[in-house]
């Protein structure tokens, strides 16, 4: 490897020897192409005309009135596929094509990354396999259908619980046996080096655009940036442009599930301990011995027991702060956003909004906050209905 892929002491590439050649190949290709004129032009064209970049920065006036300060939404939910995931799948998909790979594999939890990969597999004419836990396949059947419509094969993974971490385990295993022609399109800014760097890079347009839009439309930088954090790709995408702007507070919101004290949550940075999972050193939800926990949250997209290594470093050096939002507040703010703005936010993104709802009355009226609305909530309507039935029943 050219570099060690470290963010402070976090990150690295804790993988079996067999994966080293293929990670080296990916690292080499990334550094060769990410500034290459032809590659950049092709990605830029697809980002604009296929995915729908740049996305608007929208002043949510009625929601702002409700919370008592100024809330702007970075509308990644308007992208093709309904989430920021397409930024990464276009970038990595193109990289796979430039590397001469003919097949794509990916893991998915909620199905958003799986769908975004299936779309790009179709676009680039690549055979695509999506690994998905059997539990997730059941609760996210709409996305499973969409992936299949795009020509992808969806492979059910049993594992211990049939969720995202089992899907990643199996995708890694499959990759080990098919390194020659297969590109592993990893979905978040975690996993072994170079993935945290690669995914971060392809998500930086969120922050670069948002920063410029603030300067152009508001005439100044925002006071606070807030984004939800599972693995952390949408958050690092928007945070990255503001890291040097020391007066801009960066807030990451994790899935608090039923409450951190209940143990049923996915608040890795809030409640985890340092460990090694899926090739990277990060905060981790695990028992004392080091067996990794299964997480619980209403949003399958945040259900991950690890977290991107750069977020771990930003937490430790105090550049970003990480908090959690519980399911009940997430549902409440989802309703609020629907009623006040006519926008259905994804349950993942609703975690960021829940932080704003809870900040009502605590921030001065001239405070400017940008929330990353990383995805749309159409996929979640069924989940919300059944949550209501359970809590009422």
């Amino acid at each position: 490897m050219k570099n060690k892929g470290r963010f402070g002491d976090y990150g690295g590439f804790y993988v079996p020897e067999v994966l080293i050649p293929v990670l080296e190949e990916l690292e080499e290709a990334f550094y060769k192409y990410y500034k290459d004129e032809k590659f950049v032009a092709e990605l830029d064209n697809l980002s604009r005309n296929y995915a729908g970049r740049p996305t608007p920065l929208y002043y949510a006036s009625r929601f702002s009135e409700y919370v008592g300060f100024k809330v702007y939404l970075k509308r990644e939910d308007l992208l093709h596929g309904g989430a920021h995931k397409v930024n990464n799948t276009l970038g990595q998909g193109l990289l796979a094509k430039y590397m001469g790979k003919t097949k794509l594999i990916a893991e998915t939890g909620a199905g958003q990354h799986g769908l975004a990969t299936a779309m790009i597999g179709a676009l680039l004419g690549m055979e695509t396999k999506i690994f998905m836990g059997t539990t997730d396949i059941e609760r996210q059947s709409v996305n499973v259908h969409k992936m299949k419509l795009c020509g992808a094969e969806v492979i059910g993974v049993e594992g211990a619980t049939g969720t995202l971490k089992d899907a990643i385990n199996d995708a890694l295993r499959y990759w080990t046996g098919h390194v020659d022609d297969t590109f592993y399109l990893f979905g978040t800014a975690a996993g072994p080096h170079p993935y945290p760097t690669v995914v971060r890079h392809f998500q930086t347009p969120i922050g670069i655009e948002a920063r410029q839009q603030c300067l152009d439309n508001i005439g100044r930088l925002p006071d606070i940036i807030v984004a939800c954090v599972g693995g952390g790709s949408n958050a690092i995408g928007i945070f990255s442009a503001f890291l040097e702007d020391k007066d801009v507070r960066l807030v990451g919101v994790e899935a608090g599930g039923e409450g951190v004290s209940t143990g049923r949550h996915a608040s890795t940075l809030v409640a985890g301990k340092i460990g090694i999972l899926h090739g990277t050193k990060s905060y981790l939800l695990q028992n004392q011995e080091g067996q990794v926990f299964d997480t619980e949250s209403i949003s399958a997209g945040l259900d991950y027991p690890g977290v991107g290594p750069e977020h771990c470093m930003l937490k430790d050096i105090g550049r970003a702060e990480y908090v959690e939002a519980e399911d009940k507040d997430v549902i409440k703010v989802f309703d609020l956003m629907c009623r006040l703005e006519g926008i259905l936010p994804a349950l993942e993104s609703s975690h960021a909004l829940a932080y704003l709802m809870k900040s009502k009355g605590k921030l001065s009226s001239d405070t400017v906050v940008v929330a990353n609305l990383s995805g749309r909530g159409d996929k979640d309507v069924g989940i919300i209905e059944s949550y209501r039935k359970v809590t009422k029943g």
Partner: protein, 265 residues
Amino acid sequence: MKSYSELFSELDRTALIPFFMIGDPDYDTGLEIVKTAIDSGADILELGIAFSDPIADGPTIQKAGIRAMRSGMTVKRAIEFIKEVKDYKDIPIGLLMYYNLIYQYGSKEFFEDCCKSGVNSVLVADMNIDNAKEVADLQRSAGLDTVFMVTPNTRSERIERIAAQTNGFIYSVSLLGVTGSREKLSDTVKGLIEKLKGLTDVPVCVGFGISSAEHAVQIARSGADGVIIGSKIVKMIEENLDDKQKMLDQISSFISDVKSALAAI
């Protein structure tokens, strides 16, 4: 305590190394199985400690890990298990496990406790030679030998670096993939063993996909110092969970057969 180098210099044939998940299907039965393997002719034992996310393992070893964890296996109990095995016979033991369990235990303390209980080496499945420094120095100062993996896609320059860090044996993976029994032996393995033998004097043991006495003989004829058989034997546990005697008999006769085949070369 018997060292790898003592064992390899004593043997005039290829060593037979069965793999078991510690505590599969439970502590007591697992111990009986391992004792049976020793009585049937195992030269070295490769033992795994179950981890929640075993990315280098195929379905058979994954299920073994789940069985072990469900029966209450922990890292501390695994060390007790090893002590009991060593009390039964002074046979070299290599551990195969994942880094997070070691990291949480405290790497230095873990390797010291391993050495005290009679372990010869600890192969960390999710480490490679580039980050091996994090464990290799601690292993050596605790008194353990080092074992690292080489795969068919490892370049010669890396093989030399790996060999330089290894004083136990090189765990040579026969194919590109995860653990699991295969019908046919990979055709890359002969070339890989010859290449390794040309580059280093460190003993070479071959594992992954070796499923019959015939495979073992082919590996031995290619010049390997040891042959590691995991999934094929672990499957015999999985298939006979409700009939312990049959399980032990199958394992015993398989290991004896492979052993006689290796001895007859």
